[in-house]
């Protein structure tokens, strides 16, 4: 929550498509997984941007694409004025110092055979920052202190720590390079609830001390709401809604966001007993063969004939910076369109190629 300044990173129409190969001798591309399909967003310096969505919506791929850990197919990624996608070799490697990542599972993202010291020094060496031994040592200790680990941790190995402490090592590894942007992919979802709060508080403290910019990717809406200033909701490769955290949770405007929020259980029986749920029919359609028009129209209780199926809605500013990708956002908000029951549409794979699509499910509405 720092003063708003210019964007640190800006994505323009970023696409990440994975080819599906088939064939015995010669790999033939038989289709694409449209993991991220045209996402534009910008993150201001010092801001926390939260990206939420369910599994398979492309949120992790977007985070990786942003750091070019997977190569985007199309679009521009402007980091502090330079197009990251145009950088090559050495230049890209140098740029990476300023953008670091924290992974979901700290046990599998830390090499079990490397001591904490070796894990932290590796990044420094790669960027030529480990010249002076005393200076390096001081830097390591400082970083460990910042994430709340004792200096004695340096000589230990990842398996000697608890889950929460391991995640702290993951954070320290990103932090030691003194980055500007940290992409955190599900930073707390592998942790117990009592530990989640510790790590979330740590992330906030570090931001306040060092003016970091975060992109937090998570499926837990409550976590994202707590930590993020701006929240983007993804569905099937596209951003369907983006607003400041307060606006989004006060008045979600996209039907998908509404359904998502009504599905989150709240630890309060008084709320649970009263609330109305918008139960979505079926599962996420396959990203190899996304629905025409609005990606969500096959499951949307507010879908209107033909337009939703024909025309893909643009992410447009509806009220004061609240961006929604829905043709009928205003009508739904004003109650002019009533929700209806959604019949389940069985999705068949296209002419036998590609993986089998999970067909939709019918919910018996009580």
């Amino acid at each position: 929550m720092t003063e708003p300044t210019g964007p640190l990173i800006e994505l323009r129409d970023v696409k990440v498509h994975f080819p599906i190969k088939s064939g015995l001798l010669f790999d033939r591309t038989v289709g694409y997984v449209y993991a991220v399909d045209g996402v534009s967003l910008s993150i201001r310096k010092g801001e926390t941007y939260g990206l939420v969505g369910e599994s398979g919506c492309g949120k992790s791929t977007l985070g990786r694409g942003l750091l070019r850990l997977v190569e985007p197919t199309d679009g521009e990624i402007i980091f502090d004025g330079t197009d990251v996608r145009a950088l090559k070799g050495e230049a890209m490697r140098h740029a990476r110092r300023r953008m670091q990542m924290i992974f979901q599972d700290p046990l599998s993202s830390l090499d079990p055979r490397q001591s904490v010291e070796s894990l932290l020094v590796e990044g420094l060496k790669a960027h030529g920052l480990a010249g002076d031994k005393a200076e390096t040592n001081r830097r390591l200790r400082e970083t460990l202190e910042a994430v709340g680990l004792p200096a004695s941790a340096l000589s230990k190995y990842p398996h000697e720590f608890s889950g929460g402490q391991r995640q702290r090592i993951g954070i320290a590894r990103a932090l030691v390079l003194n980055p500007d942007l940290i992409v955190a992919d599900e930073p707390v979802s592998a942790l117990d609830v009592s530990i989640q709060a510790q790590v979330l508080n740590l992330l906030e403290d570090l931001q306040n001390e060092r003016g970091l910019t975060y992109l937090i990717i998570a499926h837990d809406l409550a976590v994202v709401r707590h930590i993020a200033d701006t929240v983007g909701v993804m569905y099937l490769g596209g951003l369907v809604e983006e607003a400041s955290s307060d606006d989004l949770y006060r008045e979600p405007m996209h039907p998908y966001t509404r359904a998502l929020m009504s599905a989150v259980p709240v630890p309060d029986p008084l709320v649970e007993d009263r609330r109305e749920r918008i139960l979505l029919a079926g599962d996420l359609p396959s990203p190899t063969n996304p629905p025409s028009g609005c990606r969500f129209h096959t499951r949307c209780p507010w879908a209107q004939p033909t337009r939703c199926a024909d025309e893909r809605p643009e992410l447009r500013d509806v009220v004061g910076g609240h961006r929604v990708a829905c043709h009928f956002a205003e009508d739904i908000a004003a109650g002019r369109i009533r929700p209806h029951k959604v019949e389940v549409e069985l999705v068949r794979p296209v002419d036998g190629t590609g993986p089998v699509d999970p067909p939709g499910e019918l919910i018996p509405t009580p």
Binding site: M1, E54, S55, S162, G163, G164, Q165, D192, V193, S194, I195, Q196, A197, Q198, L200, N201, E204, H219, L221, A222, V223, R225, H226, I227, S245, D246, Y249, A259, L260, M261, S262, A263, V264, P265, V266, P267, D268, P269, L270, V271, E272, D273, R277, L279, L280, D283, L284, V344, L346, V356, P358, P359, G360, E361, L362, I363, P364, P366
Partner: protein, 328 residues
């Protein structure tokens, strides 16, 4: 008489040459017919081991189970393996967390459902398959006829969990144990499955033991909640009572450390300090004492007893959070 009466259930794991580890430490709770009871706690609190011990699914070696598990008056722990097998799936059944690893990948869904009916109700394959189709239909699987011949990998995660529920409910058991049934699922699918479970439990009168780490799931579903810490029940209360006035510092801390969708934003989370590895053994005091804000000298002198509270619950604490302090 209660449907299920668990009395002083303990599970001790011991491997040769190693110190024994008490995963479940004298846990007692009851389940009335048609009731939904929650067992809540974080990883390592013994909630899953409790359910496996009730079902008799713990490995034969390396552990010692003591206490009583009375199901309609019969002690399940004393049953011969054959008799237990007759009851499992017919009178008590269980749903596991990960539907993909609890279904057999090389057998079609239909056969896996039919198998239960053949084993317990003596149906022939044809009749069992016909009933399986109805069961799949009842749990909301579209096009059930076609699903009968499909394999687990061909259907989605949510549908696999539905198939597992169909298997568990095939013989209309009187007790269903659900061990983290929605943890592997997305929130929208979780909402579908919880709604389905609630509806089936209401319709069939099956009692449900819900094991979860998610307080939100408990809030919407359970009548009574047991909070476990370090293998012991530390607090037991009716649902509304627990969420309004959590007395045990652990429960209180847990409720305060979860970010909520409906709470004011920008507040710092009240984290519980330390981690489970800081626990002290119950024999020496309260296991939670090293992480507790309310710790007093008595906490380190011996294990506090589980005592009834004025509101009809039970509490294991020397210095509980005062009743006036509401959560949030």
């Amino acid at each position: 008489m209660s449907l299920l009466d668990v009395r002083d259930l303990s599970v001790v794991f011991q491997r040769r040459g190693e110190r024994p580890f008490t995963a479940v430490d004298k846990v007692s709770f009851t389940v009335e017919p048609g009731q939904t009871v929650g067992l809540v706690g974080e990883s390592g609190c013994g909630k899953s081991v409790t359910s496996l011990a009730i079902m008799g699914l713990l490995p034969k070696r390396g552990n010692k189970v003591t206490g009583e598990v009375l199901f309609e008056g019969t002690d399940l722990l004393k049953l011969r393996p054959d008799d237990m097998r007759d009851r499992r799936g017919r009178e008590i059944s269980m749903i596991f967390q990960d539907p993909l690893s609890s279904l057999n990948p090389v057998i079609p869904i239909g056969i896996q459902v039919a198998e239960v009916l053949e084993r317990h109700q003596g149906r022939d394959r044809k009749q069992a398959l016909r009933e399986s189709r109805e069961l799949l239909d009842a749990v909301g699987i579209p096009d059930p006829q076609r699903r009968l011949s499909e394999y687990p990998h061909q259907i989605s995660g949510g549908m696999r969990q539905r198939a597992l529920i169909a298997i568990a409910l095939a013989c209309k058991p009187r007790l269903l144990i659900a061990d983290e049934p929605t943890t592997a699922l997305d929130v929208t699918i979780q909402a579908q499955i919880l709604t389905l479970l609630k509806q089936l439990v209401d319709e069939t009168g099956t009692a449900l033991v819900m094991i979860t780490h998610d307080l939100g799931v408990v809030a919407g579903l359970c009548d009574t909640v047991n909070v476990l810490y370090g293998g012991k029940v530390v607090e037991r209360a009716r649902r509304h009572e627990l969420f309004a006035h959590a007395r045990h510092p652990y429960t209180h801390g847990l409720l305060n450390s979860v970010p909520r969708l409906d709470s004011p934003r920008g507040e710092r989370l009240h984290a519980i300090r330390g981690s489970v590895s800081d626990n002290i053994p119950w024999a020496e005091g309260c296991a939670f004492a090293p992480r507790c804000d309310n710790v007093v000298d008595a906490c380190l002198e011996g294990p506090p007893p589980l005592e009834p509270t004025a509101t009809g619950g039970d509490l294991r604490c020397n210095n509980p959070v005062s009743e006036e302090v509401a959560v949030r």
